[in-house]
Symmetry: C2
Subunit: 331 residues, 2 copies
């Protein structure tokens, strides 16, 4: 069990017979200290099992060397991939990335933002849950600290944005379909997500722009369960031979699972296209054709935004298309 009180710098100073300032300077290496004293301090700290209290340090300084990340949830593998890449990107410069899951709820998202702001993080990265309703959280964050929206955004806030051009992604899908699919016999259906996040919104718009304003659309959420349900509806509605474009890999995997479960063939009868480029896309059988987001570059971009705190700015990355077997490059 924890000792009643853990050692403080004053304890170390007392044991080493020096001042607290010397202890501070020695342990944080912020100034040169006489080697003899250094040894005494290090030894004393070691003996007492001293560990710096970051709360005290944070209160004194302005910086905390901490960046907060608020994600809608960690079940979606695209979000956890982003979290993982960001952790890695910030590990190098010695910044702690702390992740908070909003669990799909606006209230919890707001709590996460308040929590990180209260902890005096140096910057906040946020994947907003909702295109409009997350606005208070984004605005509050941006007013207090350098805030970067990732993947999804709320418009008209003083926050930076890093994401992919969703329309460009849909354009890639359009080009692929034009080249490899006979749309007269294999009509396109879009299985998307309700446009209450900017990514869902932009992907839907992209579909309408690059395919047709009247493209058949089924809207649900970013989940495999929704993909399955949508596939069931497509089968029930007699959409045989459809080319199914989806708003996310998790949806596409659900669609694929249901089609195969029902004994339908992919890509012969149906074709399926995902979006995001998560690892599981390559693992599916047949492997998933998908629009891949450059997650690693996006993470690095965020790091550089945080390091040079310039004016808020936005950066759209170009996705690319990865051909799998659910919709092969050649017909």
């Amino acid at each position: 069990m924890p000792p009643s009180r853990s050692a403080t710098m004053a304890d170390v100073a007392r044991l080493a017979g020096v001042s607290v300032a010397t202890v501070s300077r020695t342990l944080s290496g912020t100034r040169s200290v006489d080697p003899a004293m250094q040894r005494k301090v290090t030894e004393a700290a070691e003996r007492l099992g001293y560990r710096v209290n970051l709360v005290g340090r944070a209160l004194r300084q302005t910086r905390t060397s901490t960046v907060g990340l608020v994600v809608p949830d960690l079940d979606n593998p695209y979000f956890s991939a982003l979290a993982q890449q960001l952790s890695r990107a910030f590990s190098d410069p010695g910044i702690d990335l702390l992740v908070f899951s909003a669990d799909g709820s606006l209230e919890t998202e707001a709590r996460g933002v308040r929590s990180f702001l209260g902890r005096q993080v140096d910057a906040l990265v946020l994947i907003p849950v909702h295109e409009q309703l997350s606005e208070p959280s984004v605005t509050a964050a941006a007013a207090a600290v350098h805030t970067i929206q990732l993947d999804r955004r709320v418009q008209g806030t003083a926050a930076s944005y890093v994401g992919v051009s969703n329309r460009a992604g849909m354009q890639l899908v359009r080009e692929h379909v034009a080249a490899a699919v006979d749309v007269s016999r294999q009509p396109v259906v879009y299985v998307g997500a309700t446009p209450d996040s900017s990514s869902a919104h932009e992907r839907l718009d992209g579909m309408r722009q690059y395919f047709s304003p009247d493209v058949p659309v089924l809207l649900g959420d970013f989940s495999a369960a929704w993909g399955r349900e949508a596939a069931a509806r497509i089968l029930a509605d007699g959409w045989t031979g459809a080319t199914i474009v989806t708003a996310a890999d998790v949806i596409a995997l659900g669609v694929l699972a249901h089609l195969l479960h029902e004994g339908r063939s992919v890509p012969d009868e149906f074709r399926v296209v995902g979006f995001d480029g998560i690892g599981a896309a390559a693992l599916a059988h047949p492997s998933l054709t998908t629009v891949r987001q450059p997650v690693e570059e996006m993470a690095r971009s965020i790091r550089s935004l945080v390091e040079s705190d310039d004016e808020p700015s936005s950066r759209w990355f170009k996705p690319d298309i990865v051909f799998g077997a659910t919709s092969p490059a050649a017909p």
Copy 2:
């Protein structure tokens, strides 16, 4: 851009014409305050956009209402599922769960533990990277704060443990194989992970105990890439018709992807069994037979351990087996 200095309680007090103590009592609701003053304080706080500085609060109090979670990585969907469930479990009692990814590295894991201890978290949940080499981190954590090892553990530390009985899981697999597989024609091969984490260790031991000490074994890491490679080796070595038991769903998915890619049939020619019960197991085609861990219950168990800080204790949950199509319940 952030204002040069954000409002403090002193600012609120000044504007409201009261003392900082009254502001504190009003905003934290810790004591009854005259309603009139309450209004003045609330208004002033509102006007100044006051938000409590949790760093100051944490320094003053002992508790932070924060629990830290250090995971080996967030790419493994089992870990991100645990993180998600824990977030949810702690959301209710108003405790912030903060997640730190060790990115597979002992040094980063140590950094995560130091970071959380320095932040004065109320408790620390840790999925240790290594069965032996993570010992210093676990010990350091347990000496400072209530520490709960999750899923994997380092033995002989003063930390609690919550996890599943891995041997019992393998016993379930054994019973399933005994009932549904003709092992003379469909011999069992284990695709496991190098036993440097307790889960890899215990699952390997379980295989040897419930199948045979001489069960053929291939060891790698907890990744789909390893699963693919192992499957390739199994094919190259002419293990036709094997029943492939794996140490994790991600491995099993890799095995399955490779087998199907090579045109082999599952479950007719090969059977595949996973471990963990992640969502993607049900999404695979054929769906994966797997040993499911009761993640939600485990998360609740951890919450109750944190809430009642008794002596360190351990709790092993019983897994169950979920039959998919990669190894059907009946032959």
